[in-house]
Subunit: 336 residues, 2 copies
């Protein structure tokens, strides 16, 4: 079924059918009626490829995500998808294997599908000028890691939370309550990750307060999951390290750590205070409920989409937006 078939069976020209499909005003009521009827009857839907081809542009926006390791991003996707749809664009989700160059893949995608714009989830901003130039559509880096900062603020847009500052705030929260020996539980810091940034902030806060940090209290997990956090905490306890508080870089890790503490006969917050980051809904209901720095998920998504749309539609220049995680107090922290 093509536009031609519809034209034929209605006794009108191809142009007329096209005009009906596109709501052009110059079509007589009689013709429109006939054509619409035939379209309904034959379940005709115009071929998107042909359309895009002749229009020289699509209304598509790419959502590029590397790997599926991080479930934080996975959770954002449906919401982002919906927001893009609401803005009148067509979202195209594109996952990239973790062993590939995401910017390269994004550039290919943008060209192949003539995308209007791109949202890059969880990349970094140490891309080369060349790579950015190759990517010739508006784009927004969303919760990227600001590692080398090869780019000037004019060259890119981004929405992120300030992980360093969050780590700093978490440490301060515990320091203010009299804690001095604080363990930190994080996943691999090798790759300039979120973990590393939070860890940096944490260290800074300690230094600023003049509190020395015992390297034995740095608990880095091998596997990025709860099992890893659980066993690493067990090890920390087995090693006989003394600490009155623990900062976990995610709620999930905190929950696993609390179980390890519990099994070692140490209850939270009586024997050990716990602070984490994420603010997943569950943390209000665990026993004890968690004191956690809530990531403004919804705000991140909305801001990223809005920023991209603004860029696409020519409103405003590139801008970097930094959002903050705010603490929500639960029962997992006590004053010493």
């Amino acid at each position: 079924m093509t536009i031609k078939d519809i034209a034929l069976c209605c006794g009108v020209s191809v142009s007329t059918v096209s005009r009906v499909l596109n709501n052009h005003p110059n079509v007589s009521e009689a013709a429109r009626e006939k054509v619409l009827c035939a379209i309904r009857e034959h379940h005709f839907v115009p071929n998107g490829s042909a359309r895009d081809l002749v229009k020289l542009e699509s209304d598509a926006v790419g959502l590029v995500l590397r790997g599926i390791a991080n479930s934080f991003f996975a959770e954002l996707i449906p919401t982002m998808d919906q927001l893009i749809l609401d803005a009148g664009y067509t979202p195209i989700l594109h996952q990239i294997r973790s062993d590939m160059d995401e910017l390269d893949a994004a550039a290919k995608l943008a060209r192949a599908k003539r995308l209007k714009g791109l949202i890059l989830l969880g990349g970094s901003n140490d891309y080369t000028q060349e790579q950015i130039a190759a990517l010739d559509v508006p784009f927004v880096l969303c919760t990227y890691t600001n590692s080398f900062g090869n780019l000037t603020p004019e060259q890119y847009s981004s929405v992120t939370i300030d992980d360093r500052r969050t780590g700093c705030a978490a440490a301060k929260l515990l320091l203010e309550r009299g804690h001095r020996r604080i363990a930190i539980l994080l996943d691999s810091i090798r790759d300039r990750s979120v973990s590393e940034l939070r860890w940096m902030g944490f260290r800074e806060a300690l230094e600023e307060a003049g509190v020395p940090f015992d390297p034995a209290l740095l608990a880095e997990t091998v596997s990025y999951d709860m099992a890893g956090a659980y066993s690493r905490t067990k090890k920390l306890l087995a090693d006989g390290e003394a600490f009155t508080a623990l900062f976990a870089v995610s709620d999930a890790m905190a929950i696993a750590a609390i179980r390890a503490l519990h099994e070692a006969g140490r209850s939270v917050p009586e024997d050990c205070s716990v602070v984490s980051v994420d603010g997943i809904a569950l943390t209000r209901y665990t026993i004890p409920s968690l004191t956690t720095f809530v990531q403004p998920q919804k705000e991140i998504v909305c801001t990223a989409v809005q920023t991209l749309i603004d860029l696409i539609e020519g409103r405003g220049p590139n801008r970097q937006i930094v959002l903050n995680a705010v603490p929500r107090f639960g029962q997992s922290v006590r004053q010493l």
Copy 2:
């Protein structure tokens, strides 16, 4: 940049460039080298629309999801996306607003993008014969609700878990341990939902065991989230209902319920046993850890994708696959 430009700047014909792009054997080494070089230099990527148009088919598979209410599906998406990619197809995620007809939208999508196949997430099988006919590509219903069953087994493929049976098994687990007054906590059962199916199974098991069910122990929440489960459990306790066990239709609800019980001075499992469904990773680490019926998420996703690929590639007929949730024992249940 088009194939024509590349041809021009290499001094070869359009056909030759196309052959290089498609790895046709009939290209001299010299020509291939020249063309590849030009492609690299100009960052040329062939236009997907033009390609699809002339090929009369794409390698795309649609992933249709209605609404984003259910986070269970949201979690499946990235995995499914990856699996489809691995199978050599291009996944296209398409969310449909909850006030629209998902089958209609799916049919449109299939035609517009010449899809190879469709996976419909969380629909039902009470579609009309006509709708199914309109949808002229292979499709798989994934975790749909088998409500009216308008279709014969030859007409559709599906992958689902047996919710009725799960409810039944949960009740049996508690009955076997001596519990007789069992509360059930579920979200709205109005819409032939998963909740209703589990509730039906639960009731059947009680009947079969000759245990009467006290309607006061049926706790239906208004809002589908933890806040709703928490306050509903509070109400159940405030009403002074006596029960020695509680069956929650999701882990999240169970955790919220346990907190409500805890705040009322009733500990789990000493004063009340709790069983739930889902098997999210967290349930191993909460205190107490949960006894829960684990949904075979990964298996559902793999099976759905594999079934679709088989259909597309002409291997095997339509089939309905029913998977079972299996119990994982935690500390939340005790023998009376």
